[in-house]
Amino acid sequence: MSRDGQPMIALSGVNKWFGTFHVLKDIDLEIHAGQRVVVCGPSGSGKSTLIRCINRLEEHDEGQIVVDGITLDEDMRNVAAIRREVGMVFQQFNLFPHLSVLDNCVLAQRRARGTPKAEARERAMHYLERVRIPEQAAKYPAQLSGGQQQRVAIARSLCMEPKVMLFDEPTSALDPEMIKEVLDVMIDLAQSGMTMICVTHEMGFARKVADKMVFMDHGRIVETAPPDRFFAAPASERTQLFLSQILSH
């Protein structure tokens, strides 16, 4: 809970279309400070679009999204303010290939926050240590493995000291051997009390850290439940089917 009991993120009646394709249907969701939410569902169910609406990489067409007390609307100042408070980690890492690992972490601090250079570098090194790759600071992204790149991407977001972290399938593009090193960092982050929304199919991770499971299908939130109930006794048949498919191996 944040200081006044308001949720950190509140979506109400959110709808979105890509052309005529109804990608988000009447989404209501509340996330409080410190909560870890895992969103799962089949591909095309709208889960990525959902979290991309929270920092307005996608614009919603109907309904209201409030982040940390600020309503997302056309006003670019609100959007910029929210983006500074909300970090995002992408499936394809999206590091800046022309900048060193250190500069990837320094750039936004300097530009968006106006942090002095020495302080920005110090903070960058702090978070690179936290994701356990300080020795790679001088390298360029193309010289790192996928797992290392994703950890740099996490550090880059953390450097902005966000209140919320969004993860958009952070391990889906990784080799099996590298998934663990990224999940370890995410678990560590969850245990430090960060508010997190993760779109992921890593159910082991979900069981371990999630406070709330959200299952989506065809643009709708089908089921919301705490993980123990979600995995043991899902209410909806669609959820049961989905879980039986991904947990069968």
């Binding site: 800046f96 936004a108 360029y140």
Partner: protein
């Protein structure tokens, strides 16, 4: 295998030079063509080569002081180099701004830049030079009185001006030629910049946005550096093209290398010697520039790792 077996290295492979019968044939044909050309120029064209008339046009002896001073060819070369250096900078700025405008989400910048590119790309350069100079700059520039102002400046400032822009009495003429050349080349640079911007994945912009950077910051710090790296080869092509195109402004009496060459041809009647010599100078300038860009390109790709 023993546990201390040395690390296995790949087998040595001899680099093979392949020179087959087809290569031999092509080479023979090339030599034959060259020989035929030489024979024709010797017997049919019947041209007596006389290079000695060219050299005095490079440097001459000043009758008052008795020292060597640069003559027409070197002065023309200086003007061409000034056009090249300023032209590259101006065309790069125009191209960067217009290239950004081409990719803008707003209609007006897109409209302006698209019209600019379409207009210049689709008319012959000679027509553009004449229209631009006689109908546009000739009407505007004299009203600014640049030459008069330059004449009133202190000698040191005048000296610097003449180093940077050429003789002060011809400065207006030079500026007209320079603007003309830059606006012309800028249109092609615009298209290259647009292609460069579009070559940067959308995800890079999203990553920048998600960190709270403004649209301008994303463009300057993320998109532009990557775009530039992707367009070094076409850009170098365009700038080399521009140096050769700088001969176009000889049409409006900017006394650069081609203008000077035509003058000398008329007064000496040594058409081929002057033309070939000037051609060699252009080759050396353009070749150095491509070497420079080649180095830039190698450096850029090395950093990427």
């Amino acid at each position: 295998m023993s546990p201390e077996a040395p690390e296995r290295l790949p087998p040595l492979r001899r680099k093979s030079v392949s020179f087959g019968w087809l290569d031999g044939l092509l080479l023979a044909l090339l030599l034959a063509a060259f020989g035929y050309f030489a024979w024709r120029t010797q017997t049919v064209l019947y041209y007596k080569w006389d290079w000695s008339t060219v050299w005095p046009w490079i440097v001459r002896v000043d009758p008052r002081t008795g020292g060597w001073v640069p003559n027409a060819i070197l002065l023309g070369l200086a003007t061409t180099l000034r056009l090249a250096v300023w032209g590259i900078m101006l065309a790069a700025v125009i191209g960067a701004v217009m290239g950004w405008a081409r990719t803008s989400q707003r209609l007006l910048p897109r409209l302006i830049s698209t019209s600019y590119v379409m207009l210049i790309r689709n008319i012959p350069p000679i027509v553009f030079v004449f229209v631009f100079v006689f109908f546009i700059t000739s009407q505007i520039l004299p009203s600014l009185g640049i030459a008069d102002r330059a004449a009133r400046l202190s000698p040191e400032v005048q000296w610097w001006l003449s180093v940077l822009f050429g003789p002060t009495n011809r400065i207006e003429n030079f500026i007209v030629g320079l603007i003309c050349l830059s606006v012309f080349t800028g249109a092609y640079v615009t298209e290259i910049v647009r292609a460069g911007i579009e070559s940067v994945p959308r995800a890079q912009v999203e990553a920048g946005n998600s960190l709270g950077l403004t649209r301008f910051q994303v463009l300057r710090d993320i998109v532009f550096p990557q775009a530039l790296r992707n367009v070094i080869p076409p850009l170098s092509n365009q700038f080399i093209q521009m140096i050769k195109d700088s001969s176009l402004v000889s049409l409006v009496s900017v006394q650069e290398l081609t203008f000077v060459a035509q003058d000398i041809q008329i007064s000496t009647q040594r058409v081929f010697e002057v033309l070939l010599f000037v051609g060699l100078i252009y080759f050396l300038i353009c070749w150095s520039l491509s070497a420079l860009f080649g180095k830039l390109e190698r450096d850029a790709t090395r950093v990427r790792g």
